[in-house]
Symmetry: D2
């Protein structure tokens, strides 16, 4: 008898350099009727390839043109669904994230600011124009020719994971989101994205009847938001070594995964804010029969990994529920988050970064955003902490004041800034 | 010549057992004309006494009656103002938080759920009735006879710090908040608290003319919310060893401090959510002349302390911008926070805690709330992580499922729960 | 009924500015017959004052003369013994270290290199002459006018804790140490210190018969070494929040404590290497009846505190069992430790510190010394890691090389070095 | 122009399932004349395969027979030498450890106790008989069918790295070690291993003259000990993300690497104590010209990775320089380490582990051994801390006492223990 392990099988293989729509085993809508692309048993370890969220629309170059013209209807390309044998509604699918890596020959990623007319971003009023930074994924570290002076260890994770919704849950998603859209008709950027057959993709599967394929395209929920099944939760700490407990809504669970990030800051504020990458995940499923009841859960429970970078020193900024025009909002944590982000961007800008660089950096570096207090009417208090150890010089206020007084503050990163990020 | 230090002077002494309104050196409104109660020079180390935020209205007993009847118009009693010699508008007051401790003979604190008709709390729809837990402050640890099975190290900090506003800034605060109140007239609980002469207190100072005293009472901003000067920012990591950079708006800076917490969870969700305590702070001031410009800052910058408990393992819950009635909100982090909190409360409840205990515990234990993503329309994603190491048993899902299956889950904390927290 | 706590009693009060030998409640030998100076019950919280280890022989000034002339026969002055009611041989005394602070009006400490003719130090061949640095204890941080450019948070702890030995255990200590001394007669510095009536002190207690007092002075074990009861274990992480399980050898346990350190590096290599201070400890006792058997223990078990500074980045040096003269030793971790220390001292010296400053700094800063491997004949591998975050500039090799190449390396700390530490 | 990276080249490929002596690019002695097996330029990233230290002599099965019969003369098989273009004596070779992984299809490792007559171990008096545990390398975690109840994240690292010695340095090694052997003739186990042509291997290279090959076999230093070039330093934190500065002694540096560990405890006390594995390393070289002078270094300087598991709670044991027979040694940290290890083993044994299991576990789990103090004559104080979070139950003393009193202590791991580890 041999205890030696065989190699871990790659259940779904993809080519990050080929067009997404020529590949199988991926899809870009949530729908219970999308057929499983692979099947595993509880306890089995397996690998899946993942495209980057856009399916290869963004390139490793020095222009943001591809951000301007990216077709967001295609997003996100998810890998799966993967059927878990024996899973029934009400069960909990336990997913061990065993590894998340870029493709070895494709060791780069990008973050971008989306144009206000094509997706936008959290601070799209301040940053209406597209921008992009490319990152070299250099072992555990990321560096960028577009944002000099920083180097940080990634906490690589999938931005999107979750089981397929039941038809009832899907209908509920569509109901509530359609209502929101109706309440904000004409908003730019849009407040939500309804089902849209345009660019809907379910993996080049020919076995389905046209009726079913059309129904999936017509009804399938967009992958942009997180929802109660998980989805695009963008939790930056779900790196290798994490365990997640997902609700199961349909037989076989039909788990999908994608939107890999080499690193992300809390909030992912530029929308395409993480270091987006294509790559390979290693997973294992287990089942807890009737687990939703046993764990009193209606949404995922996460055990983040014990293996994470130890960045401990932060310069921290605060925002409250008063917007940039001085308008008082009622306990609005989103406004507070935005204001904290603006304070941090101003600070990084004073160090010599362009505002676009600062905005991009805060989106993808291991920045922490905490809801400090959310009970002190009328202001929520949100903090954003930037780790100091990722910079190649001291960015703490005492050092900044000293550099200001000797006139060396803004000279640190030189003239290369303005030209490294090109706009359309 | 002797290098020996003299004892650090206590600039303002208070008695936590006496009525607040008989004591000097405290005030409960923000106003530039409140006279300084003490004066220090940059570089000087000093101590200040602080009452608990209510000025002694809440007692170490087993009823929540005092929560029900607490006069919130009195809150918060702040210590100060302390003048910093040489401070001018545009300067930055650097405050080193050197120590935060309870009074030695008063080593207890409390957290409470405020009644929906008297302050309320974040989840006041779910928890409309007052409740209270008293905590013993036992060296670095807190334990409660009202919430058994947990013990955690405090990260003691002042909930409120900041310099007095200029008259112009004060007017701006009142303008914007008054407008918000007008937009939500009749809201319960109120969306904001306007200036209110009732219970306004500026420290039993007789030297002021009646005109000025009346103006302070009439115009003085309430201390409830955080604002751009800092104020009630409730940042749980500003413990001893922290350094904060505050904007100076008026000559002498006029710094005030209060609302001491032995420990707080991110969000402080029950409103009186931290372990509130009276105590002693040790501080030092320094000045950066013209610092607001040098640091490009319009709100405080924080360097949290390097000395904090090392709780590293968390069970994490997620919330999105869909409220408990299923209504979809647009990128609302506050709703997402609430939903994550509800998921966490359900989970703790399944372990045998009452929901009130769970709600109180999440408010005061070293719980972390992160804005995971705030760009994926229409849902923000907020996570709340509960440290596992503070419990006297394993609360991870695998252990919970095992306990569920052997029928031992809810028995852990016994019958004492329901009776330990009394309501009015 | 009131739940309010009374103030914690100070069981033994001392004056750090008065001569030790005029004070009661202290002693400087281990012996079962030293009478208890105080008595507590399990579960009771209490405070004890402690002198610095020398009993006030070292002063806050700029000369090392007092190091040269210090009477080591007096060391260490311990506070106690404190009797724990109900303790019996075989029990375990559980000691909660609830706080360790300097006297408020005495907020300074010192570290010193002892002269080779008076105590010596680990590297006494390299550093035969006495030196001293005085530290200001500034809230959680220490800074020194004698070692510029560093500031670090203390992990304050007692260097010495333990229960009194039984007569049998004391005899065993004396037996084995006497034998060692005999094997190394004439060694300088001495390999061990036998009982010595000179300067023996048991607290100005007059109730004892002369016979007993003379027996204690004649037989009492010196406090210099750690032993199986704990004693001078100098474990740098036993800060407030720690819990220690001590063996009990005699009725009442007779616990003593002293040698308070504001901070210490692993190894405490200059002998008087920690930041030595007088101060106040807050403790609580509990008992585990027959605990030595239940815990299979013959020496203390420690649960270090969860509250410690988070210094995470280190520059690390390695030593092996080849001494500075090139002689190969057999798996000698002590030699390896010394060689790692020498490599670290050279490195700090290249930054502009004097070698004495470097040696002192490594003794008292939160430096970590690990036994990396101790199985690879003939060399043990020991590492010493210096935290980078305690310096006011980047000390990592890349920055050092850059500074070397621009000629700015050694200029950082200026000309003040050589004169700040005086020798006799 | 394309910024896309090509795949990282594998400079030396090996097969962990084939006999070592049929493979090229490996060697098992240190000698300057071993020809380079590969050449790289500074700045280049590359991969190397590594065999396990024994070259495949140990198997994934349930007997320790292979430990008994292992040929230690073959150890360690190192990969290399790799020439760094441009390196000259006096330079510093900067090595970035970018990744360390097992072969994907070979995801297991082992730790073993070597027989006293074949290598032995640190506590070979207590454990004279061979034993073995096999570990499954399960993503970031290790688990063992031979040591149930534990699961921990690995800190994978190479146990051996370093540049080839110059002839002068090699002669010095041989001189001093030969002298030590002479001083301890007949010792069992041996105190050191002299050059030994038996089983010497330099990689099936046919281009060398017989004279040179014989000289290498005759003079080449054994790879067992760490030395000033690094070598078998077994520093458990040199995981991916670490940067190491190695002295260069000969032209081209001739760097070699091997002895990969999935995880190791400080001390590696069973000799084959880490989780030994074959695997793949990803490295990058850089050069600092004349760096040994610039960095004042004669031995490696290490910057351990910022990415490591966050195990923070420890149960800690203490040892002093009194051996198990009660003999007092003079400041012997090795004896102190051994005694701390024995205390820890007793404790783990009381939990139900066999002593062999405890000994093996302490060797490979992320255990920390600190030199607490090494100045308190005659006893050094060494601590060993076992992380509590790696066990599936609470191992802190309070829980152990509770389990003891209910009679459930030793039952935890059942009867499977004694039979899972077989001896010859």
């Amino acid at each position: 008898m041999s205890y030696d392990k065989r190699s871990i099988p790659i259940l779904i293989s993809l080519d990050p350099s080929s067009p997404a729509i020529q590949q199988r085993g991926i899809h870009n809508r949530w729908h219970p009727d999308i057929p499983s692309a692979a099947t595993v048993h509880p306890g089995q370890t397996f690998k899946l390839h993942c495209l980057d969220w856009t399916g290869g629309q963004i390139h490793n170059n020095d222009t943001a043109d591809d951000i301007v013209t990216a077709d967001l209807n295609q997003c996100h390309y998810l890998t799966g669904p993967v059927e878990c044998k024996g899973a029934q509604p009400g069960d909990v699918l336990v997913v061990d994230v065993m590894d998340v890596t870029p493709f070895p020959e494709h060791a780069w990623g990008y973050c971008g600011i989306f144009d206000i007319n094509n997706g936008g971003s959290l601070l799209c009023d301040d940053f209406p124009v597209a921008a992009k930074a490319v990152w070299d994924l250099d072992g555990v570290y990321a560096t960028s020719r577009h944002i000099p002076g920083v180097r940080f260890a990634g906490i690589s994770h999938p931005g999107i994971m979750g089981c397929a919704p039941s038809k009832e849950l899907l209908d509920e998603w569509n109901r509530r989101e359609t209502q929101l859209i109706a309440e904000h008709s004409g908003a730019v950027p849009a407040v939500a994205y309804p089902p849209n057959p345009k660019s809907a993709y379910i993996g080049a599967i020919s076995a389905l009847s046209n009726d079913i394929m059309e129904a999936i395209a017509r009804e399938g929920a967009r992958t942009i938001p997180p929802r109660e099944h998980g989805g695009n939760c963008d939790i930056k700490n779900l790196s290798k070594g994490s365990r997640i407990y997902f609700p199961v809504y349909i037989e076989g669970a039909k788990f999908s995964i994608g939107d890999l990030h080499f690193s992300q800051g809390d909030g992912e504020l530029t929308f395409c804010g993480a270091i987006e990458m294509a790559g390979i995940v290693t997973l294992r499923f287990n089942l807890i029969k009737d687990g939703m009841k046993k764990l009193s859960m209606n949404s995922p429970i996460y055990l983040p990994s014990v293996v994470d970078p130890k960045y401990t020193t932060q310069v921290t900024f605060q925002g409250i529920s008063v917007d940039k025009d001085g308008k008082q909002h009622s306990m609005d944590a989103t406004v507070a988050y935005k204001q904290a982000a603006r304070a941090a961007i101003e600070y990084l800008h004073s160090l010599g970064y362009t505002k676009e660089q600062a905005y991009l950096l805060m989106s993808c570096a291991p920045v922490e955003a905490h809801v400090a207090s959310i009970v002190d009417h009328p202001n929520a208090s949100v903090t954003i902490g930037i780790p100091t150890e990722i910079f190649d010089r001291d960015i703490r206020p005492d050092a900044v004041v000293a550099a200001y007084e000797t006139g060396t503050l803004k000279k640190a990163y030189g003239a290369s800034h303005a030209t490294t990020i090109k706009r359309a």
